[in-house]
């Protein structure tokens, strides 16, 4: 069972604000799934290579050239808060 402290820690890492009333619920639900996936420990994976790309593609590369994106204004319009063409955010430091 994940402790409340662990849930708070994970939520912090995931940048998700969690109300004190929600922590118990998340702890129960996440623990249930974690207990259930424990069954994977039965699988014999000795000397088995991991699969990341299922069709076997490896290191797909392309020329490092700039592309002209035509939707610049549309991107700027999506900023939640802006001043001129700058995206206005809370101070980083």
């Amino acid at each position: 069972m994940l402790s409340k402290k662990e849930v708070e820690h994970i939520a912090g890492l995931a940048r998700i604000g969690v109300g004190t009333d929600e922590i118990g619920k998340f702890s129960k639900e996440l623990s249930a799934v974690l207990d259930w996936i424990e069954q994977l420990k039965e699988a014999d994976i000795k000397d088995v290579e991991p699969t990341a790309n299922i069709t076997g593609l490896d290191n797909v590369s392309r020329e490092d050239t700039a592309l002209n994106f035509l939707g610049k204004d549309k991107i700027v319009n999506l900023f939640p808060d802006k001043k001129d063409n700058f995206n206005k955010v809370k101070s980083v430091l």
Binding site: L2, E6, V7, I10, A11, G12, L13, A14, R15, I16, G17, V18, G19, F26, E29, L30, A32, V33, L34, W36, I37, Q39, L40, K41, A43, I45, V48, E49, P50, T51, A52, N53, I54, T55, L57, V60, R62, G71, K74, I75, N77, L78, F79, P80, D81, N87, V89, K90, S91, V92
Partner: protein, 487 residues
């Protein structure tokens, strides 16, 4: 269906504008109850239809998809149209560009009616996780249409679109297709570019068609398939016209069946599956019993790989570049003074108010599994089990051409029936998830109906094929559809 409508357009029995208007009229009438659509794109749809009509009037030949109205799942970007992925965090997001599949469909002349409801960011099996409310199953409004592409499946089933696109990460095209009595195709991983589809679990995601029949699925796949420089995982393949593989001839084809998948079903479901097997035997198919011993691990493997990739992919929704930023959210009652919050708190607030419970669960699960000290026990182990599952499929496909399973353990469940237990909801995908883990193409085809509470509920079967063997997959489905069935 697409071919019939195409012929009507060519023979001037109906114009493309009239056709689009007809579909908007059906939406107007039915969608109050079904709620398949989140956003309609009336102006751009009619404009496209007018272009097609001009071409026809000039006596120019038109392509098979020109003027044919369809619907797009809301996690696929259509330029200039609101694309929310059914999440409050993207409530005001207007897609600045077309996904590659949309670019291809537009070039083929398809008319896009609107964007369909889904589980938030494609996380769910019922569309009940949509931030805008659930879609209802057209066959019984008390029941779910399945998910996550529930809006797309319901739209096609209710005649609110000729065809639709969905995305499938663990069964999200095939399970709703089965629940709604339509055809749903998940192509091979890499067959279709995902550029412009909002990433959920990148090693599993795939876009595919939901249609009334197999021929239509082949027509849509022909348009959307192919290598794309914008998606490095898309596979090189020569341009294909998938309709030309639809001969309906399957004599001598070998189809594998996993015995305990069928034996474990309920009585009515088993009866339908037995009939499908008998029908294929009548068509000269050789049915062989096969085993997929490690497939039992597919579901837990999925619930490690998927949340890990989700936690990484959804980190982009932080309220900085686009979408909701908690400082000005008018629809929720903020329990803080926004001006007093710092940058980190702004992230926390944005994601707290912008994301739904299931999305939060999966992000946290993945964050936990990838956190320091747990990577090997979870993600790496799951990737190794994935290799075992892939090998099982390779072994099976040495003996058979296709694998036949039910699409789901049972037909559509009731709204609210499974929302209290996330784990129980996950089990709805038990037969579909293996195809995503193994990366193989799979299709769900309507097989029959099961009467529950006086309503006839559709039930589908699934075929899986070798990597990049959509030809045999589609043709076997087509053969089932066009040949007479046993009673």
């Amino acid at each position: 269906m697409i071919k019939d409508i195409h012929n009507k357009l060519v023979n001037k029995e109906i114009s493309a504008v009239e056709l689009a208007q007809e579909y908007f009229a059906v939406i107007e009438k039915k969608d109050k109850n079904i709620f398949a659509y989140l956003t309609l794109a009336k102006d751009s749809a009619l404009e496209k239809a007018r272009e097609v009509d001009t071409k026809i009037a000039r006596g120019e030949a038109i392509g098979i998809l020109e003027g044919i109205p369809g619907a797009i799942k809301d996690n696929i970007c259509v330029a200039g149209v609101r694309s929310t992925a059914a999440s409050k965090i993207l409530d005001n997001y207007i897609a600045p560009y077309d996904a590659t599949v949309i670019k291809n469909l537009k070039e083929a002349g398809a008319v896009i009616l609107g964007k369909t409801n889904m589980d938030e960011f494609a996380m769910g099996s019922s569309t009940e996780n949509s931030a805008y409310g659930p879609t209802k199953n057209p066959h019984d409004l008390q029941r779910v249409p399945g998910g996550s592409s529930g809006g797309s499946a319901a739209a096609v089933a209710a005649g609110e679109a000729v065809w639709a696109l969905g995305t499938d990460t663990g069964g999200s095209i095939r399970q709703p297709a089965s629940f709604c009595g339509v055809v749903g195709l998940k192509p091979t991983y890499g067959r279709v570019s995902r550029y412009g589809a909002m990433a959920m679990a990148s090693s599993l995601d795939q876009i595919g068609p939901i249609t009334k029949n197999v021929e239509d699925a082949a027509i849509i796949l022909s348009v959307i398939a192919g290598r794309d420089d914008m998606d490095a995982t898309s596979a090189h393949s020569s341009d294909k016209n998938y309709e030309k593989f639809l001969t309906g001839e399957v004599s001598g084809l070998r189809i594998g069946v996993v015995k305990n998948y069928i034996e474990g079903l309920g009585k009515e479901e088993k009866k339908i599956m037995d009939k499908v097997i008998a029908d294929y035997k009548d068509l000269g198919v050789e049915i062989k019993e096969i085993e997929l011993p490690t497939a039992a691990y597919a579901l837990p493997t999925y619930y490690i790989i998927m949340p890990c990739e989700v936690s990484s992919n959804l980190a982009r929704f932080d309220g900085i570049k686009y979408g909701l930023r908690a400082f000005d959210h008018k629809n929720t009652k903020l329990d803080f003074v926004p001006e007093d919050r710092n940058l980190i708190e702004n992230y926390l607030d944005t994601r707290k108010y912008g994301l739904g419970a299931e999305v939060k669960r999966r992000i946290m699960l993945g964050t936990y599994a990838l956190s320091s000290g747990y990577y090997e026990a979870y993600y790496l182990r799951a990737q190794k089990v994935r290799t075992l599952i892939k090998k099982d499929f390779e072994k099976a496909f040495a003996e058979v051409d296709l694998i036949l399973t039910p699409t789901t353990p049972m037909p559509a469940f009731k709204i609210g029936e499974k929302t209290q237990s996330p784990l129980e909801m996950y089990l709805a995908d038990i037969f579909t998830i293996t195809a995503n883990i193994a990366g193989v193409p799979a299709i769900s085809i309507p097989a029959g109906e099961i009467k529950i509470d006086g309503k006839k509920l559709p039930y589908g079967f699934q075929l899986m094929a070798k990597w990049f063997d959509e030809e045999n997959l589609l043709n076997a489905g087509y053969a089932y559809e066009v040949n007479p069935h046993t009673n």
